[in-house]
């Protein structure tokens, strides 16, 4: 992946694994939207070809963000932070200055990098980056309480740096933030019935369904979009990702896909 990005002309970038239904996020900087668009075209073709060989379909979504009015215009340093959150929010009014001021103030107070980006969509983008998840959550909480009544809806995607192999050094708490236990809900969609092989550590609770004990198609027993639910309790975000990865590799035949939701409060 890193090779593809470098060959595509992207030098400064963040490549992360995400929680949710999307698997990866790639963030890079470009002075021109036209150039960025061309790079995305190249990357999509390369990654698409790579994944096709593994019989995986590619499904991308793209956001162009422009830094407007912010004092944090030099943000390339922040892409070396391990944890990033992309907060999409729909403001009720078009006054950007208040949002920018709030974001700048929060960033200063918490000493966590947060940047407001303008997009063509009705949703605006806030990018938070920190060495640990606790820092991201702190900014997110402060931002949400400060902006109460100013935005209509919001949605957040958390990503963990994945340039190299995940290890315990990722998502390390700093002097500013206390390390806490993290919880995640993993929704599993089955493609075949049969018993799932669960990871040995980190599983707090597992909700099974009837399809596990029957030899029928999983779809027959399904009420909603997913079949099973798993609650994980781990110390680091990297551990959660590893646990989910282990679950999927051990049950390649049985699991169609998973969606992981990080719990906001604990």
């Amino acid at each position: 992946m890193s090779e593809s990005l470098a060959l595509g002309g992207v030098n400064e970038y963040f490549y992360g694994i995400t929680f949710g239904k999307y698997d990866f996020v790639i963030e890079f900087f470009s002075s021109s939207m036209a150039v960025a668009s061309g790079l995305v075209q190249k990357l999509t073709t390369k990654i698409g070809k790579h994944l096709k060989r593994k019989k995986v379909e590619l499904c991308i979504s793209l956001v162009f963000g422009v830094d407007v009015l912010s004092r944090n215009s030099n943000c390339t340093d922040s892409i070396y932070d391990k944890v990033r959150a992309y907060v999409f929010f729909q403001p009720k009014e078009g006054d950007l200055s208040k949002i920018v001021q709030t974001v700048d103030r929060i960033s200063e107070d918490t000493r966590v990098h947060a940047q407001f980006d303008w997009t063509n969509s009705i949703y605006k983008l806030l990018v938070i980056s920190s060495p640990c998840y606790e820092g991201v959550v702190e900014v997110l909480e402060t931002f949400r309480s400060a902006m109460q009544g100013i935005y209509k809806t919001t949605s957040t995607c958390v990503a963990l740096d994945f340039k190299e192999e995940l290890d315990d050094g990722y998502d390390t708490p700093s002097d500013l933030h206390k390390h806490r236990q993290k919880f995640a809900i993993v929704y599993i969609r089955r493609q075949k019935s049969g018993k799932l092989i669960l990871p040995k550590t980190g599983v707090l609770k597992y909700f099974r369904d009837k399809s596990e004990s029957k030899s029928t198609d999983a779809m027959i027993c399904r009420l909603g979009g997913y079949d099973n639910v798993l609650i994980l309790k781990r110390k680091r975000l990297g551990n959660i990702i590893k646990t989910v990865d282990r679950l999927r590799t051990r049950n390649v035949e049985r699991i169609s896909h998973t969606a992981t939701i990080l719990l906001y409060e604990w």
Partner: protein, 485 residues
């Protein structure tokens, strides 16, 4: 009509009815979804109650037309034992019905496209649980659509019309459609919707160019020249009378050009006399020129410059000939230039426009298969422009009957400097008049020698989409009151 022909016609009408039935169902579903999502996505998805009401009326009317033709059982037309009740005697009746259904079908397509384009961002709150369904490469471009809607609303508000153009004619949203032919690749277009409404659409590629929004002024100019009739559209009386006089005057003048004007080259193959004799061509030219003049009066001189910018750059001398549309634009620009140069105190500095027209004239010279040479294009523009000026002199209220003099475009240098500075510094200026923002965007872009000097795209688009100027606020308030009523 023979019995066999009548049976065949019955079958055709039944097939048409099936098509219409599906279409009516589609529209009802679309209306429900539109109104439901409008709560969260307004103004990206505007509340267009009156448009849906109009569509329902159109459906009811077509339904009644079908109803009197068939014997129905449980909503399905049954095959008649004798065809006495089937009252289509001529194919023309069928064709009329088919046209109504086709119009409704085309309009439904535009509505569906608008809905799909404007709801792309609904995916965003579902990033943790859903696949992207968007065919757009970016997550959403709603600000572009809101900006275009606001621009149209402001331009339309400038028009004086007995029935109020916003309420009765423009349907309330702008769509960006993939161009089918080269002719539809540039500019803006207006299309007659069902039951006397008008829809403005632009080519997909134009949505990222703020300059192209100025072209909406020309389309609003077209709509202003028409008024709704009972069954079909009629030209506004005052305009119709003016046009009759104008055509007579232009015909008389141009007929003399060949013998009187020494500048007429007589070699370029453009036949003035033929053009005058071909009444529809001249009428069309005058319609377009009038719409241009109204466009300039509501959007400023930059609307004309934007029109000239829409001449495709790919039409280089290698292509040998310019398209007919580009020719028409150059000729029309000469007419409007004659008109505005007389009122230059109102429209400000015309040096840039003059330079642009000359350079386009030079391009014109290079084409071997051109229909008109530069000197003849100038004569053409001068003659029609002068005729319009003479008419305006006689009838001082001519343009006042179309454009509200109080809302006509006017900007002073102080306002210009303020807006340009703000846009260059990347600071949105939502409280400024939309016409002024567009004018300043184009002016600053033209003057910029380096990329750094250009006005900021995000700041400009944001100022258009989230505009809070007193003028737009009052238009929106009036509009929401009308939709409640």
């Amino acid at each position: 009509m023979s019995y066999a022909a009548k049976v065949s016609m019955w079958e055709s009408v039944r097939r048409l009815w099936t098509r219409f039935y599906g279409l009516a169902e589609d529209l009802r579903l679309l209306k429900d979804r539109w109104m439901y999502h409008a709560r969260d996505l307004e103004p990206a998805l505007p509340r267009i109650n009156s448009t849906f009401e109009t569509l329902e009326k159109a459906i009811m009317k077509i339904d009644r037309d079908f109803l009197r033709l068939f014997n129905f059982v449980r909503g399905i037309p049954i095959y008649p034992i004798n065809l006495d009740g089937f009252r289509i005697d001529e194919p023309a009746q069928y064709l009329e019905l088919e046209e109504s259904v086709s119009n409704l079908e085309a309009y439904t397509g535009l509505l569906k496209l608008a809905f799909q384009q404007r709801t792309v961002s609904l995916e965003i709150p579902k990033i943790t649980s859903g696949y992207p369904h968007s065919p757009e490469r970016t997550v959403g471009n709603e600000l572009v659509y809101i900006g275009a809607d606001n621009v149209t609303m402001t331009f339309a508000d400038t028009i004086t019309h007995p029935s109020g153009i916003l309420q009765s004619q423009w349907d309330g949203f702008v769509t960006f459609v993939p161009p089918i032919t080269d002719e539809l690749r540039y500019g803006a277009f207006c299309k007659k919707g069902p039951y006397g409404s008008y829809h403005i659409y632009m080519p997909e590629g134009a949505k990222y160019s703020i300059t192209s929004y100025l072209l909406i002024a020309h389309e609003v100019g077209h709509i202003s020249l028409l008024k709704p009739g009972r069954n079909k559209w009629h030209l506004r009386n005052e305009y119709e009378n003016s046009k009759r006089i104008l055509i007579k005057e232009v015909s008389r003048k141009i007929a003399n050009v060949k013998s009187l004007n020494p500048q007429y080259c007589g070699e370029c193959g453009f036949d003035f006399v033929n053009m005058v004799e071909d009444n529809s061509s001249l009428q069309n030219q005058i319609d377009e020129a009038f719409a241009d003049i109204i466009g300039v009066r509501i959007g400023g001189i930059k609307t004309l410059e934007a029109l000239l910018d829409s001449i495709p750059l790919s039409e280089t001398p290698e292509h040998k000939s310019l398209s007919t549309k580009s020719f028409e634009i150059i000729m029309r620009a000469n007419i409007v230039y004659k008109y505005v140069s007389t009122h230059h105190d109102r429209y400000g500095d015309l040096a840039f426009l003059r330079k642009r027209l000359t350079s386009l004239g030079e391009i014109l010279k290079r084409y071997s298969q051109t229909k008109i040479c530069l000197s003849c294009a100038k004569i053409y523009g001068k003659e029609i422009g002068e005729a319009i000026l003479a008419l305006e002199k006689e009838n001082t209220g001519l343009f006042a009957s179309f454009v509200d003099p109080k809302k006509e475009f006017a900007i002073n240098s102080e306002e210009e400097t303020r807006i340009i500075c703000s846009l260059k510094d990347c600071i949105p200026c939502q409280h400024e008049n939309i016409c002024h923002i567009l004018h300043c965007w184009m002016l600053a872009s033209q003057k910029a020698k380096e990329h750094k000097e250009r006005p900021s795209y995000p700041a400009t688009l944001h100022s258009l989409a989230y505009n809070t100027s007193t003028r737009l606020r009052s238009i929106k308030e009036n509009r929401s009151v009308d939709s409640i009523e």
